[in-house]
Subunit: 170 residues, 2 copies
């Protein structure tokens, strides 16, 4: 039987087997989306925490620096994976994990993916301008036309699909 994390580890140090396993899971999948390990750890611990946790509990139990914890929580909050909740009689901020997959996906797409696509679109605008100003001549004109146009299609398509992704998941 698992020890109750809250009661067994009163000094806020170390992790139970259950907590370790949950965090391990998040660490392994989060690499897919290019998020630092420490951020996955923070989220993982909050995910299995029955009650909101303050920053110093997170840093003590995960053995990470205050700076990492602070920055990690900021990132997680930026796309709504973690919320700060008011705990009566407590001065410190307490954090809790958002567990709705749809919201997690939506927040991540909005904050992490969309901005990159915007940047890509800017590059594409530049490219199109360049291409319209002076098209290459010769036998490969049709080829270049096709390739340039295709990039535009990709860009449009991904902007269409991305918002849908949240819906599909839910």
């Amino acid at each position: 039987m698992f020890a109750d994390p809250a009661s067994t580890i009163p000094d806020n140090t170390g992790l139970s087997a259950l907590e370790t396993a949950v965090i391990d899971f998040f660490v392994s999948i989060v690499r897919v989306v290019g998020i630092p390990k420490s951020v996955a750890e923070l989220y993982g611990l909050l995910y299995v925490a029955p009650r909101p946790l303050p920053l110093d509990t997170l840093m003590q139990r995960l053995r990470m620096s205050k700076g990492s914890a602070s920055q990690g929580i900021r990132l997680l909050r930026s796309f709504g994976a973690v919320r700060s909740v008011y705990v009566p009689g407590e001065r410190r901020d307490h954090f809790t994990a958002e567990v709705e997959l749809k919201r997690l996906a939506a927040g991540f797409i909005r904050e992490e993916i969309q901005p990159r696509l915007v940047q890509g679109q800017e590059k594409l605008d530049h490219l199109n301008h360049l291409y319209e100003t002076s098209r290459p001549s010769g036998p490969d004109t049709a080829f270049y036309d096709d390739r340039i146009q295709r990039l535009g299609t990709w860009s449009r398509r991904s902007r269409e699909v991305l918002p849908l992704l949240g819906e599909i998941i839910a």
Copy 2:
């Protein structure tokens, strides 16, 4: 007007403005999926190339080492973003870019995403076993049950959605 890349740069060195702009586009968006810059450059150059290119042309024009070019091409081939084509009378391998977004997505999902999800699933199996063997007691049992179960739902959902993603894009 653009100079024809093939004719203007006979020494296989340097890039035209068009090529640079296309490569720049790929470099900017490819970071989203955690692929090295050099790989984006290889793909970008092949994408705008009217004819298949051999390895040493790629490395010369992109000014990258033979090792990088070789490894980059291998990665691109592994998920079908680049194919090698036979060029009559040519001894060297020549490469050409796959431009069907659907195939690109499918290959990437199959080779890069799926394996990570499998790894996540293994962690989850371990977690479930741990949890079944010894469930925590106390007032938070229902909470833990919910959280553990939810992970399973996420895992299943993502396995359902991922293959669909290819279809949606097309």
